[in-house]
């Protein structure tokens, strides 16, 4: 599509060019006055304004397409038995002090989706909805964290050691790690992890936990 067209510098051509911005109300008072003065004497441009208003209204009424995409992903998450329903939607809706802002709800949900897929992948014959607290998994993860991409390994280790966390899985495709901390100290661990500038997301995983 050509980038440049030459329009004669006359009121009609100027009006033709500026009509979209007359319609959206963003012209300067001088410009709006000039265009309207021309409209008063030009039937063609008046018809053009009418067509322009319809076009603008039609475009404005178009669906916000990303909404549909979000909802599709959300529906897929909700369709996941147990994990998807409780954890994904919890992470989706819950305000995470920093993680929510850094990782969009979609990305956060996707991260959880990856976790959901990855955890049972070691035992593909097992049903996805098997409880985390089942006997085969004696020490299930009860936290999920994500680090800033540039975080050094030593800082990651220090962050985990500061809350006595054990790594149980990860990194996943989205860079998330599953951690296990003493259940009674989990809230404190979460607070510390969230205060850590290297960590963009720290969330509890509320599966059944053994005593």
């Amino acid at each position: 599509m050509a980038e440049i067209i030459q329009l004669r510098n006359n009121p009609h051509d100027e009006a033709q060019q500026l009509l979209p911005w007359l319609v959206n109300g963003s012209l300067s008072p001088d410009e709006a006055e000039r265009v309207e003065a021309h409209l008063a004497v030009c039937e063609e441009c008046r018809a053009e304004v009418d067509a322009e208003r319809r076009l603008a209204a039609a475009i404005e009424s178009m669906p916000i397409n990303s909404d549909a995409a979000f909802e599709r992903i959300e529906r897929r998450l909700e369709a996941q038995p147990q994990f998807g329903l409780s954890r994904a939607s919890g992470l989706w809706r819950k305000r995470v002090p920093f993680g929510w802002a850094v990782i969009s709800p979609l990305a956060a949900a996707a991260a959880v989706a990856v976790l959901i897929i990855n955890v049972p992948s070691r035992q593909p014959t097992e049903p996805l909805y098997r409880a985390l607290g089942a006997s085969e998994i004696s020490r299930p993860a009860n936290l999920v964290v994500q680090f800033q991409p540039a975080t050094r390994l030593s800082d990651m280790q220090a962050a985990l050691q500061s809350v006595d966390a054990r790594l149980t899985d990860g990194p996943t495709a989205t860079g998330a790690y599953l951690l296990r901390v003493d259940q009674s100290k989990r809230e404190l661990a979460l607070k510390r992890l969230r205060d850590n500038e290297s960590i963009t997301l720290a969330e509890p995983i509320d599966g059944p936990t053994p005593g």
Partner: protein, 199 residues
């Protein structure tokens, strides 16, 4: 989640008050206030999503570019010098990042049909003539170049002036006018008389 109500509220808010609010929030972000950052994120998420969706038409890129754009606010708030509105600055960053992401893709094998499938998802009430017009319109918009789509979206949906659009797209104002002229001609040609009953 994005809602029409949220967008209407965004557009309906006094532009002047919004500028003040943006600058106050940015000052807090500079001081490391994460709540202020979250407020900015929530405020701009719907608008940027809409803009980026029109521009790149791929959900994964929209999300990536949107978050990359907002991370500039958090990591480098001082790179905003106040020469324009914060919204203009943000749209400009998003536009540059989106165009870079698009260039990485092989435009030659762009599957326009897939774009339409991904972007227009008629609801149950969309079997009406309005639904058909929207579909025609979507097809016509997809046929425009990303640069033309950006001008169309910023003008018709975000209701920006051509000078502000020129700042966002980093091009002369005459280029904005010319792109709009071509885009309108294309859309009107594709829609024919189907907009007669609109509004």
């Amino acid at each position: 989640m994005i809602s029409e109500e949220a967008l209407t509220a965004v557009r309906g808010k006094s532009a002047e008050a919004q500028v003040d609010s943006d600058l106050e929030l940015l000052a807090k972000v500079r001081a490391g206030d994460r709540t202020a950052f979250e407020q900015l994120y929530r405020h701009y998420h719907p608008r940027l999503t809409r803009f980026l969706w029109t521009l790149v038409r791929r959900p994964t890129i929209v999300e990536e570019v949107l978050d990359d754009t907002m991370m500039v606010v958090w990591n480098r708030p001082d790179s905003y010098h106040g020469a324009s509105k914060l919204s203009t600055w943000l749209f400009a960053i998003a536009y540059r990042k989106a165009m870079r992401a698009l260039r990485k893709q092989d435009e030659a094998v762009e599957d326009l049909a897939a774009d339409r499938r991904a972007s227009f998802d008629p609801g149950p009430d969309e079997s009406s003539s309005r639904g058909r017009v929207r579909e025609l319109l979507m097809q016509a918009i997809v046929e425009l170049t990303p640069a033309h789509r950006a001008v169309v979206d910023l003008t018709y949906f975000h209701e920006l002036g051509y000078r502000e659009i020129a700042v966002i797209l980093e091009c002369p104002v005459d280029t904005v006018k010319t792109r709009m002229f071509h885009a309108r001609r294309h859309l009107r040609k594709k829609l024919g008389g189907s907009l007669t009953d609109w509004v």
